[in-house]
């Protein structure tokens, strides 16, 4: 770690993603990310952390979620790690028309928003177990 990296280790409980959001926002503000993109970053971090808690860690109270951020080459990189096995089946893009008609369940919005707001997203299994989402947001995007 260097002076442009921070890390937050969260209790695996919905609501605690707010801590990571606040830290991410403060960090991004220090790095000079524009206000509108800070809001985007907060949503990205929130949704990735919620997915980690609910789907990665399957709601286990003894599991943890780690969020780390760094700023390098004019880009804020965020990783959100959980102790799960990773995503095998990505949900399709949610279709609100079908959801409204009760033809589909209202799922997949978190992943959809991450992909819409981030400049880059990757999903990887960790070598020593666990799963990580890596997101990037360019300082001047």
């Amino acid at each position: 770690m260097n002076d442009r990296t921070i890390e937050v280790n969260l209790v695996n409980q919905l609501g605690y993603e707010r801590i990571a959001m606040a830290c991410s926002a403060s960090f991004a503000r220090l790095m000079g990310l524009p206000p509108e993109r800070i809001e985007d970053l907060k949503t990205m971090v929130s949704e990735a952390a919620i997915n980690a808690m609910e789907h990665g860690n399957k709601g286990r109270p003894d599991a943890r979620v780690t969020v780390s951020l760094n700023c390098q080459d004019n880009t804020i990189n965020v990783t959100v790690s959980d102790e799960g096995d990773g995503i095998t089946n990505f949900p399709p893009k949610p279709d609100i028309e079908k959801i409204i008609e009760d033809l589909e369940s209202p799922v997949g919005f978190g992943l959809f928003l991450i992909k819409q707001l981030a400049d880059q997203v990757e999903f990887n299994k960790e070598a020593n177990g666990g799963h990580v989402v890596k997101m990037a947001i360019k300082m001047n995007s």
Binding site: E36, T43, I50, G110, F112
Partner: protein
């Protein structure tokens, strides 16, 4: 940890029922939204305005809960609109398609003028 809840007050403004929703909108909001909606619908409302706090945190669980209300209002041929959201969440609502089913108004006054 503090339990999440929403306080939702219903007010009648002519033909429009205003839902003033206090607090963040997450998956925990579903029962509160549902109860307020059922309570209003049993009284035969056909115009609903959801007022959300500008500082409210809204996540994908909250978006799903709001969409359930939009779905019910569509089935019941009700006109539904939203006001009070921040510019960021206006953008998010546009991305997920909520704006195809509910107009977003800048202010309550604006909304009431259009909906009346």
């Amino acid at each position: 940890m503090q339990q999440h809840s929403n306080e939702i007050n219903l007010e009648q403004h002519g033909a429009v029922t205003l839902f003033s929703i206090k607090g963040d909108i997450t998956s925990f909001s579903e029962p509160f939204l549902s109860e307020a909606y059922q309570s209003a619908s049993t009284q035969g409302v056909d115009k609903i305005l959801l007022k959300i706090d500008k500082e409210a945190y809204i996540n994908s669980g909250g978006i799903a809960a709001l969409i359930q209300i939009l779905a019910q209002s569509k089935r019941n041929n009700q006109n539904i609109a939203i006001t009070g959201v921040s510019d960021h969440f206006k953008k998010i609502f546009g991305m997920v398609g909520i704006t195809r089913f509910a107009d977003i108004h800048e202010t309550v006054e604006n909304a009431l003028e259009v909906m009346s």
